[in-house]
Structure formats: C-alpha cells, structure tokens
C-alpha cells in the first residue's frame, strides 16, 4: 500500500476560506444582528472639550414618541458600576505610580473632550433615539481648554483631572543615561532633529457597534460587539466595571470590519448599553455614525520628540538621546499608558548597534479624545525617530545612507540593546540588499535626471524598521505593569469522523485566521483544509484568550494551536497502537496515516478519531476516550519582524503634489503561513503608513473641536492615490515560538512613513519636515516660502 505524500498547505497561497460569505454579502457584523424586541440607542455628547455639568434635563426627550428611556450620567454615578480603566501601570522615573483620573462611562460632573457622553437615549429606532438626544438639555459651565501637548504642559494649564499637576500622567525613562551623556561628550558628530508624529484616526471601515442584551430569566448578559478582544472585554466588564461574574457575561464578536487597534479597547458605549439594557429590559443596539467615530474612537500616535544621535570619527553610532512628549487625550484608554513607553522606546535602537541609548517620555492629558494603539502602536513612532535620525546623520557626514546603515547594522544575534530588547534573529543586510535591487537603486540617478528634465524633483527614501510583535512572556509583562497575561489559548477538537474544530482566543477582523490556521492544522493531521474549521469571537465557545493586536495571532495564537495539535497526535498515536495491537514506540504518524513497523496495517487519522470515541479497542482506565486537546502558549520573548521599505517619489514643485511612483517592501517575517495573505497585510500596512506620511492628520482647534471629523476633512488613501506596492520576503526563523513565525500585521505602517519622508527630504534637499506632506507644506518647502 503506497501513499504519495500529501502536499503541504501551510506556506502556500490558497484562497481564504472565509471570503465566500463576504463576497456574497453574507458576513455577519454586529450591526447586522437584530434581536427580538430590539431597541436602539443614541448618546448625548458634550459639544465642549472641557466643561462642568451643572444640570441634565431629560424630561422633554423622555416624552417623545418611541422613546423608551433616557439614562443620564447622574443616574450612572449611583449605578455602582466602576470606571473604565487603563490596563497597564507605568511608574515615573522617581518611582511614583502614573496619575490616573476618573473615567465614568457617562459623565455626571465634568466633560473632558468634545464627544464625551453624558446620557444614553433608548428608543424604538436609531433615528428616534438620535432625535430625542437632541432634546436632552445639558447646562454646561465652560472651562479653559488644553487641546494640545504645549497648552497641557504650560504653567497654569487647565486642570483636566482634579489634583493632577500639569496634566502629567508620568515622566518615564529607559536606557543608560550617564553612559549616553558621556558618549555625546566624546562624539565626533551629533545629529539632532525635532520630530512630530502626527495624530491619526484609525478609521476601520466598520464603525464600532454594540448590541447589549440582558436576560432577566437567566440573570445574565450577552454583548454583541465589534471587538478585537472579546475575552479581555468580558474580563474587564466583569472584574473592573462590575456587571456580573464572567459566567453571566457572554461577549460575541462575529465578523468584525477591521480594527487596527481601535477595537481592542473597552469603550464607554459598551458599558452604557449593557447598563441600559438591564434597566429597560430590552436589547439595546448602538452603531456608531462615522462622524461619531471620528469624535470618539481612540486616536493614534501624537508625539512631539527631540532626538539626537552621536557618531564617532568612523561614523559609527555611539549614542542616542530621545525626549518625547506623548498625548493620551482626556482619559487613559485601555493601553493608553503602554503605547508611548514599553512598545515605543525599546524599539529606538532600530536595526543598529547602538551601545548607549537614553529615552525619556512625558505623557500628558489633553482635552481631546483618548489616544491608544493604532496599527504599530509605538513602534511606528520609534521607527520614525531612528530612521529620520539615521538618514539625516548619513547626509550630514556625507555618506550614502544605505552604506551608513550597513556600517551600523547589528550583525551578531542574539543582540541585546540598551533599551531592554533581545533580538533573537535577523539579517538586516539581506532585506536592504534585496530591496535596493528590486527598486534598481543603482539606476536612480538616471531616473532623477529624467524627472528633473521635466521640471520635477525625484527622491528615494529608505525605512529600515524593526518591531517587537507578539509580546510576552506574561511574567515579564507583569513586572512592566501589565494587568493581564499575553499568552494565547487553543483547543483542538477532533470529531469522530475526523473533521476538526479549532477554538482560538485570537480574533480575526480581516487577518484570514480561518485560512492560515486551518492550513497548519490540516498539515499536522494530514487532512484537508476543508475539514478544519476555526472558531473564534464567542466567549461561550472559546474558554479564554487575549484577542488579536500587536501582530500576535501568528507567532502566539498559531503556536498554541500547533502545540495542541501535537498533543492530539500524541494521544492518537497511543490509541492507534492499541487498535493495531503493536507497541506504541513502533507507531509512526506521517501524512495523515498511522503505521507501524510491527504490522502492515495502517489507520487513517479519521479511523483513529472514530476509535477514540467508540473506545472499543483500548482500556479506558489507561486512555481516556475522546480526542480533544488544549494548550496555553506563553511566548518566552517578543519576536522581531524587520525589513527595508523603499519609497520613490516625484514632486511637482509648482503644486507641491507628491506622487509615490514606486514602493518596495522587503520583510523578514520568519516562516510564512500564506504568502498571499501576508502580502495583503504588507500592502494594507504600507498604505496606512503612506497615508500617515502624505495625507492623514487629526486636527483639533484651540477649543478642542475636531476639525477633521469627516471624510471630506480627513484624507484617507484611495485607490487612485497609490502605485503598486511591490513586496519581497527574506527569512530568518524566529526562535521564540515553535513555528518560527514573526508578526506581519504592522510592518507596513512602521516602515513606510520614514521611507516616504526620507524620499521627500531627499527630493527637496531639506533637513526637517513634518508629516503629513500635504501639497501646501511641500510647495512651501520646495519654494522656500
């Protein structure tokens, strides 16, 4: 009996299993869920960025036809429910804990940003709820506003949270300060830059949505919500907000329309809708309007940085100093304290051997909506600092910037940086070489001359990024202040007929887990991808998990699945030995078939699965019936995806319009599960990164009013704005997970911004230039105006 080896699925570009429902209009997103006796909510929001609430009068709204109830912040204050809480404790350099202000889901005494919710209106339709919300009269006493970092840190700045001086959350540091100062003393050359990392609005195309249902008979809640992290949310709703113990709370996030970090947090609306649902005994649905999303979603980035690099006589980097001010908005969101600290400054070393680094981060409250993780979350900010510095330093000392990078690359692994990162593997030279070859950098001078012959400018920019993905281990994160562990769980259930259900605590909101995960499981069991289903996003099905963010689904989530599959194979092998009546150590499992050197009989995976459940051929006192195994995988360290992104731009100095004419991304993600899906992750990340560099910026006026609150004002990248993004891969296996994978979700958003800005500063021969490179700013720079 011969059996040709089944071709491996993992590592190949098979189409996505989940796509059939999406392309036919049968995806089920939160707003698509309609419950019996469905009621709808609208929020009454503060028009002022900073004000005391003197009174709330909902009587007129309550009288409106179709209005079921209006619940105000005043009522919420007596509900006994807790504040929204930040999940990461950061300590200042003097050892003091970060300064945390209150954050009720509905404000009763004070509003701190324009969009802060003060009441929830529940009505028979969303339209009636919105109309009635207009009739809720709130008497505000306006207060002075601190809408940006400068005004929030000024002497006599308005006090946003009672008793928190200068609106300062913390003053944090990392690195070897004295040694770094000494390195700067002996430097042959110092490059210094002022850098702004522009504030961004995530803009998942599905807005946030909630459908909350209290079941009085069971005394339990069900929450449908567009979330990246349903279990984390349930834990928070149970333990922090205090609705009910976790077994009385079910959180369901079926199809979720993009997240990019913005749906990984606990928001006020989830709390308010659950609370209202119990009070009015109706399921309460709220779907965020796009304009409301601009106003209330957590934004990203918003750093102001002064950074410097010290070089020795040989142009080797000997030191780096970074002082960053970060804006967390009016409240500390779920990861608001973490993003500008432990996922930012530890990446400042980039791909370079820098013996001395010191970074100091001062974070402040402002009267703007909270700032939290957005694709890359801290790492794009760090990558921008180091890559702008390196590029500028190379130009200042008259070196080709690729050669300058090569000179300073880390070449020995593992490598420990002065900012607490231990890079396990990498080959930075390999992706730089490949990217330069793909873009034909050697022919750039000819292209530049041709462009200039047409009266335009041309520039080539490099962004060599490294990021820390799939953060862990949990014990280390606990020491750094995390309120949760960041392992991942998996349960692999083999059915009696040999089909498989895999339950994962990760959550797919576009990443294609239903496919990539199934590919690996199919290979490990030697079965078809069609026989594997991935289950996620329901706390009643999956026992626990930490969701998907920070590029953790592959290296952490899939590792848990792979290890659980190994346990299944181990048990199946023991059963196969009993069925074949041979010694277990003679049994081999290859390509879906159990065989033994002691017999010519063979068993398929499905046959063993059936035997596991019939339990006719083994002693159930030795082996338990059934075939289902679980695993909690805690990564021993972060993993470090890295790559080189190159951008070539053409600029019309007459209009200031920047045309991205070529973009090459070469990334090292270790072992890749589905190249087509990974390419898509790179494409999407790059376009978000180009968006940050060229067009996107959240702007508040001095009164804290958001000026970029619609798609007419906030410029999203469109299909007509981009050229093809050309993607290449190199591979060094990751050593901190059993698959060898590195996270791929955020790379593009990290590598692209410095590549674009380095290209623009190259084209215009300028030194400092802040994102976004709008035509006006570029025109001014090009024409020295």
């Amino acid at each position: 009996m011969t059996n040709s080896a089944r071709p491996k699925s993992f590592g190949t570009s098979i189409p996505r299993k989940e796509d059939r429902r999406f392309i036919t209009g049968h995806g089920r997103y939160t707003d698509d869920v309609e419950l019996p006796a469905q009621a709808h909510a609208a929020f009454v929001r503060s028009p002022f960025a900073h004000a005391n609430i003197l009174s709330i009068d909902a009587s007129e709204a309550q009288k409106q036809q179709g209005v079921i109830a209006v619940y105000t912040g005043t009522q919420f204050a007596t509900s006994g429910l807790g504040d929204l809480q930040c999940g990461w404790m950061i300590h200042s350099r003097d050892g003091s804990p970060m300064q945390v202000g209150e954050h009720p889901a509905l404000a009763s005494q004070k509003v701190r940003f324009a969009g802060d919710a003060v009441a929830i209106v529940v009505a028979e339709s969303a339209k009636l709820a919105k109309l009635a919300a207009e009739l809720v009269e709130v008497d505000y006493e306006e207060l002075p506003v601190a809408a940006d970092l400068v005004s929030a840190g000024a002497p006599n700045a308005p006090e946003i949270h009672e008793g928190i001086t200068n609106n300062q959350v913390y003053d944090w540091e990392i690195g070897n300060k004295a040694e770094t100062a000494e390195a700067f003393q002996r430097a042959a050359h110092i490059t210094e830059l002022n850098l702004i990392n522009n504030r961004l609005i995530p803009n998942a195309m599905e807005t946030r949505a909630v459908n909350a249902q209290f079941d009085a008979a069971k005394d339990s809640y069900t929450l449908y919500v567009a979330s990246q992290n349903p279990h984390g949310l349930r834990m928070t709703l149970a333990a922090v907000i205090g609705f009910a113990p976790e077994h009385k709370l079910r959180v369901i996030s079926e199809d979720v329309g993009g997240g990019f970090g913005s749906k990984a947090f606990n928001y006020a609306e989830e709390v308010a809708c659950l609370w209202a649902s119990k009070l009015c005994n109706r399921p309460v649905k709220w779907t965020c309007d796009r304009s409301e999303a601009f106003l209330t979603d957590a934004h990203g980035r918003d750093h102001v940085t002064r950074a410097s690099l010290a070089l020795d006589d040989d142009h080797k980097i000997i030191g780096m100093q970074v002082h960053t001010q970060a804006n967390v908005g009016a409240y500390l969101s779920t990861f608001g304290s973490l993003i500008p600290t432990y996922v930012y400054a530890p990446l400042l070393s980039g791909q370079y051997n820098i013996p001395n680094i010191y970074a100091n981060v001062v974070t402040r409250y402002t009267n703007t909506n909270p700032v939290d993780a957005y694709r890359g979350a801290g790492r794009p900010e760090a990558g921008y600092v180091i890559e702008r510095l390196v590029e500028t330093a190379a130009r200042e000392v008259g070196m080709n910037s690729a050669e300058f990078r090569r000179l300073n690359f880390i070449r020995q692994f593992p490598h420990s940086t002065p900012v607490d990162m231990d890079y396990d593997t990498g080959d930075f030279q390999a992706h730089l070489d490949k990217a330069l070859e793909m873009i034909k950098a050697d022919q750039f001078p000819e292209r530049k001359a041709e462009t200039e012959s047409r009266g335009k400018k041309r520039g080539l920019g490099i962004g060599c990024y490294i990021e820390a993905a799939g953060i862990g281990p949990s014990a280390r994160l606990g020491k750094l202040g995390s309120g949760a562990g960041l392992w991942e769980s998996a349960e692999v259930r083999v059915n009696p007929t040999g089909s498989v259900e895999v339950l994962t605590g990760c959550h797919s909101h576009g990443q294609g887990h239903e496919t990539t995960y199934a590919q690996l499981v199919a290979d490990q069991f030697g079965i078809s991808v069609d026989d594997v289903d991935i289950v996620h996003g329901d706390t009643d099905k999956v026992q626990f998990g930490m969701g998907t963010f920070g590029s953790r689904s592959g290296p952490v989530g899939l590792s848990a699945i792979s290890l659980a599959c190994n346990k299944v194979v181990a048990k199946a092998t023991a059963i196969a030995a009993q069925v074949l009546e041979v010694e277990q150590d003679t049994v081999d499992f290859t390509d879906g078939e159990f065989s033994s050197s002691a017999t010519n009989q063979r068993l398929s995976f499905a046959e063993v699965a059936l035997n596991a459940y019939t339990a006719h051929h083994f002693s159930t006192s030795d082996i338990e019936p059934g075939l289902s195994e679980g695993c909690f995988f805690d990564p021993p360290d972060f993993n470090f995806p890295a790559g080189t992104h190159l951008c070539e731009v053409e600029i019309d100095p007459q209009t200031g319009v920047v045309d991205v004419v070529d973009f090459v991304a070469v990334d090292d993600f270790g072992v890749i599960g589905n190249p087509m899906i990974v390419e898509g992750q790179v494409h999407g990340g790059v376009v978000q990164g180009v968006g940050q560099a060229l067009w996107e910026q959240a702007v508040h006026d001095e009164q804290g009013q958001l000026l970029t609150g619609s798609y007419m004002d906030y410029t999203m990248p469109r299909a007509s704005d981009m050229p093809d993004v050309r993607v290449g891969f190199t591979e060094t296996r990751c050593t901190t997970n059993p698959i060898g994978m590195k996270g791929c979700g955020e790379a593009g958003a990290i590598g692209a911004p410095p590549a674009v800005i380095n290209a623009i500063t190259d084209a215009l021969d300028i030194r400092e230039f802040d994102m976004p490179a709008t035509p006006e700013k570029v025109w001014r720079a090009a024409n020295k105006r």
């Binding site: 996505r16 999406f22 195309m205 898509g680």
Partner: protein, 159 residues
C-alpha cells in the same frame, strides 16, 4: 408620519415595502427588508460601502431615498451571483484575496460590476479612478486592482 408604499424590483424580484419619506434606500434595505449585505461606512456618500445599482447606475444607497426606488431595478450584492456559484468578479476577488475584513467588499464588487458593464477593458488607471469612491482600510487596494483586471479579462474572454 404616514409611510409611503413603494413598489420596486430588488435583484430581479418584485418587492413592496412601506417606508418613511425621509428614509434612505440603505436604511430600507437593511432595516425594513433585512438585506444586510449592503453596508454603511459613512452615511455621507464618501466611502462607497453602500454601493448598489439603480437601473444599472452605480449609486450610494445612503444618498438615495427609499421612495426613489419606485419602479426601478435595484441590484445589491445579494443579487450579483448567479443561482449557483459565483459571479466572475466574486470569483476573482476570492482568488486574489482582494478583501480582508470584508465590510467594504460588497460595495467594491457592485462598483466593479458597474465599471465592467460600462467599460469591459479598463486600464489600471481607469480602474483606480473608478474605485476611488470606495474606501478600503485593509487591503491597500493592490489586490483589488488585480482582481478587477482578472475579472475584466475573464468577462471579455470567458474560458
């Protein structure tokens, strides 16, 4: 307010519904008729997620009133595929992984159909400009463009 009786055709089927005069076609499709394949991305005609065809013309359902469907043919994502299998555009979106989270995909597929009905052999630039009305935050558009090119090729020269 008195509701209006509207008679229309949706995906080739005669449909009667009652709606308020100010209700958008998007609201009618999703809320009155439970056809949730058409998605809302912005409600202001800036993102194209709610793209449908009205007598073959590409429109944002959020900018059309329900009553305007009177006597017209409305084509939504649910009406793109033949009874069995997939439309070639859907098949190419599938094969090229031209979607990630999927929320903008119904609008993009409907918009692609409108393009290819009108211009069976578009250039890449024409595709990119035609689809500039459809925002996608996940894909960076690259694979969508490839899928549309492949759809055009397949529809012009069926296998």
């Amino acid at each position: 307010m008195a509701k209006v009786h509207v008679q229309t055709q949706i995906n080739g089927e005669p449909v009667d519904f009652l709606c308020e005069p100010q209700q958008s076609l998007l609201e009618v499709l999703r809320e009155e008729l439970s056809r949730t394949g058409t998605k809302e991305g912005c409600g202001t005609g800036d993102c194209g997620a709610c793209s449908v065809l009205l007598d073959g013309r590409l429109v944002c359902a959020c900018l059309v009133l329900g009553v305007e469907a009177t006597g017209k043919n409305v084509t939504t994502i649910e009406g793109i595929a033949p009874e069995e299998g997939l439309h070639p555009i859907q098949q190419q979106f599938l094969e090229h992984a031209a979607l990630q989270c999927g929320i903008c995909t119904p609008g993009l597929i409907v918009a692609t159909k409108a393009l290819l009905d009108k211009n069976p052999n578009p250039t890449e630039k024409e595709i990119r400009y035609w689809l500039a009305g459809n925002l996608c935050r996940c894909t960076g558009y690259d694979k969508i463009i490839r899928a549309v090119q492949a759809s055009a090729a397949e529809l012009s020269h069926p296998a």
